[in-house]
């Protein structure tokens, strides 16, 4: 594991030569959407869904509150579909060496590779590797890419697809709905409790190629699942768009945990819509770590639709020089006796900007709802920026809503103390940053925790 992390220690430069069999060209027109749908052999209803979404995307303005100029994105220069002409692989031996080299570089731990049963790795927009562990199949778990999901499991897929995040939710969910490819479809049947997390590795590899994966996870009554996704992007010269949509449905008493670690190169625009619906006594936890990118806008949401449902958000954001992290959470209490919990920590380095944008809403009909929000910001340098904009919209009776926020800076005195203990300045900052995050890093699976600590140290070295 440590060897892999050493491999990982060179920031950026994760690019490998790859040949692309399908390419929808640059720019976005109706033909682009038709082309994507045709290549994927999609049914008529989905093509119509995509075309409707394209119209919505074209009609919606770019939200005026977006904090960073999106002009460098050049929507007409982006490649909206690009796929390696590969069938999903089931055996490690069948995975091309080039892809294995990428895994090496990403530092996918050895033990995880052994567990590639139940693991999907998306290499560009299609799965380069997909293998279902025997025990998962026996439990009736479906874990496939989104195209396979809609083609082979239409009766489960179609009624839920696009319902939690409709295309018209925002401009970028509309874009995703029009051109999506890749992502996962997961169904966990009633009562199935998965001890092993399901994992997916995503990465972007083609310059100017926007990645629009689409994930739909349905967890049936009393079932439990943890899903892990990790991302690193190669460093490219021109801007790259990542606009994903994730929809979760937690049926009564189901538990879903969705863990994301993203480490984008600083030219990526990461505009993601994540939302889950929690039915009666169900529980949805988003655990999200965002590092890098030019701009990340991501506010995972839980709609607490059934009584006693519970939503939780654990968020870590790191904004380095020239980066803007606009992250947060939304908790929508539509039913009584629902509770939600938000823990957000952000770090801004040099002139990086980390903003917390959160919403807690309690519907008029919802009684006895509880929310606790805590956001902590750490600023490393004098020019670092931190912002907080919580929105509370409480209409129901007897709601308990609590918001706490702290802002702190790394002090010269702390750095001097650590240097006296033999740590270089960047090591000292790495230690202080990891100290700040400790409490939340524990929420990540151990390998991720170790990897994240290493990443934080790397972030401090990039000065």
């Amino acid at each position: 594991m440590s060897e892999n992390l050493e491999e990982f220690a060179t920031p950026g430069n994760f690019s490998y030569a790859t040949e692309y069999a399908h390419d929808a060209g640059r720019g976005l027109r109706e033909e682009t959407v038709r082309y994507i749908s045709k290549v994927k052999n999609e049914p008529r209803w989905l093509l119509n869904f995509r075309l409707r979404a394209l119209k919505i995307f074209e009609a919606m303005p770019i939200p005026p509150w977006i904090p960073v100029d999106l002009a460098p994105l050049q929507f007409d220069q982006i490649r909206y579909y690009l796929a390696k002409d590969q069938e999903p692989k089931r055996r490690w031996e069948d995975v091309p060496d080039e892809v294995k080299a990428t895994f090496d570089r990403l530092g996918v731990p050895e033990n995880e590779r052994k567990f590639l049963a139940g693991v999907e790795a998306q290499f560009d927009s299609e799965m380069a590797y997909a293998s279902l562990r025997q025990s998962l199949a026996e439990k009736g778990v479906i874990f496939v890419n989104s195209t396979e999901g809609l083609l082979q499991h239409e009766s489960i897929f179609r009624p839920h697809f696009g319902k939690v995040v409709p295309p018209a939710d925002n401009k970028f969910s509309a874009l995703n709905s029009a051109v999506f490819s890749g992502g996962s479809f997961i169904y966990i049947p009633k009562g199935a409790k998965l001890e092993q997390p399901l994992q997916a590795y995503f990465r972007i590899n083609a310059e100017q190629f926007g990645q629009f994966e689409r994930t739909l996870i349905i967890v049936d009554e009393d079932a439990e699942v943890t899903y892990l996704e990790g991302c690193t992007a190669p460093r490219f010269e021109s801007s790259t768009l990542h606009a994903a949509v994730v929809e979760l449905i937690a049926m009564p008493r189901a538990k879903v945990q969705y863990i994301t670690v993203q480490n984008w190169s600083s030219n990526v625009y990461n505009l993601v819509t994540k939302r889950g619906t929690a039915r009666e006594s169900a529980e949805i936890r988003w655990i999200d770590c965002n590092i890098g990118s030019r701009l990340t806008m991501k506010y995972p949401c839980v709609v607490l639709a059934g009584t006693r449902a519970r939503g939780e958000m654990v968020s870590i954001s790191v904004a380095h020089h020239g980066q803007y992290q606009d992250t947060g959470a939304k908790m929508i209490h539509n039913a009584s006796h629902t509770s939600s919990h938000i823990m957000a920590k952000s770090i801004s380095i040099q002139d990086g900007v980390a903003a917390y944008r959160g919403t807690t809403r309690v519907a008029k009909s919802a009684k006895n709802c509880k929310n606790y929000t805590r956001c902590d910001a750490l600023m490393i340098h004098p020019e670092s920026v931190s912002k907080t904009s919580p929105t509370l919209d409480v209409n129901g009776n007897l709601a308990q809503v609590q918001h706490e926020a702290t802002v702190s800076r790394v002090s010269d005195e702390q750095i001097r103390y650590l240097r006296q203990r033999g740590l270089g300045e960047s090591q000292a900052m790495g230690l202080l940053v990891n100290g700040f995050l400790n409490e939340l890093l524990r929420e990540f699976p151990m390998e991720y925790g170790v990897e994240l600590k290493r990443l934080m140290e790397m972030e401090m070295e990039q000065r």
């Binding site: 702190s408 650590l418 033999g422 270089g424 090591q427 230690l431 202080l432 100290g435 400790n438 409490e439």
Partner: protein, 244 residues
């Protein structure tokens, strides 16, 4: 030849004011030396200058013949100078274990594997010596610590990091009788290891058990007088004017 920390003709200005002018002192390895002096006489500034935290105006500081001046603070630390701060700063979220591990890893040769087992054994033993229960390992460094707890934590680090020289800035202040006893034991352990020790203090009584090799009076920016425990006793009983 024995290792030595040598200070020669040291001049030091703090906030535009001359604090030391021409101070010289040599501390051979394995010896205990004590500096006493009035408030504001520059004792603490001297210690901070030795570890590179205050730039010196002129003079020489050498460790085993090698100049320490101009070296970055962390390099001086890795070469073997440890300062136990009088008022160490809190590091919220950073546990005692994490600090020590990071500090030891920073001293390690590149490519060498860190021995976690050895580390935990050493830490357990050092905490026991310092009268710290195992929960200390996971406490956040100096965060919410009492004055006495901070001093213990500083000494724990001195034991764990195995420096060549330990500089103790009023390590005895605010300690109760038991804690002082623990501190004396720790200093003896360091001495047995061959560590050189420079103590800045206002009190002589606790030094009796240490039997220091030298006691020095810092006054007017220089070492005005040097002697043994007798000098410390005189200062404690009769005040600074009696020895000046």
């Amino acid at each position: 030849m024995r290792d030595v920390l040598a200070i020669r003709d040291l001049y030091l200005n703090v906030a535009g004011k001359a604090v030391l002018y021409g101070l010289s002192l040599a501390i051979p390895a394995g010896e205990i030396h004590v500096i006493m002096g009035r408030n504001g006489s520059g004792k603490s500034s001297l210690l901070h200058a030795l570890v590179g935290q205050i730039p010196v105006a002129s003079g020489a500081v050498t460790l085993d013949g090698e100049s320490l001046l101009e070296l970055p603070q962390e390099v001086i630390a890795r070469k073997g100078l440890f300062l136990a701060f009088q008022m160490p700063v809190a590091l919220p979220g950073v546990t005692v274990t994490q600090l020590l591990r990071a500090a030891l890893q920073a001293r390690q040769e590149k490519g060498k594997l860190f021995n976690h087992m050895q580390f935990h054994d050493d830490l357990e033993a050092a905490m026991e010596l310092m009268g710290m229960d195992p929960s200390w390992a996971n406490r956040h460094v100096n965060d919410g610590f009492s004055g006495g707890e901070r001093k213990r934590c500083e000494m724990l680090q001195a034991i764990m990091l195995k420096p060549k020289y330990v500089l103790l800035d009023e390590i005895d202040s605010g300690l109760d009788v038991d804690a002082t006893g623990i501190m004396v034991n720790a200093i003896r352990l360091l001495q047995r290891r061959g560590t050189g020790i420079l103590i800045v203090t206002h009190h002589s009584r606790w030094l009796e058990a240490l039997n220091p090799n030298g006691v020095h009076l810092l006054s007017d920016g220089v070492i005005l007088r040097s002697g043994d425990m007798e000098l410390a006793r005189t200062i404690e009983l009769e005040g600074f004017q009696a020895v000046q």
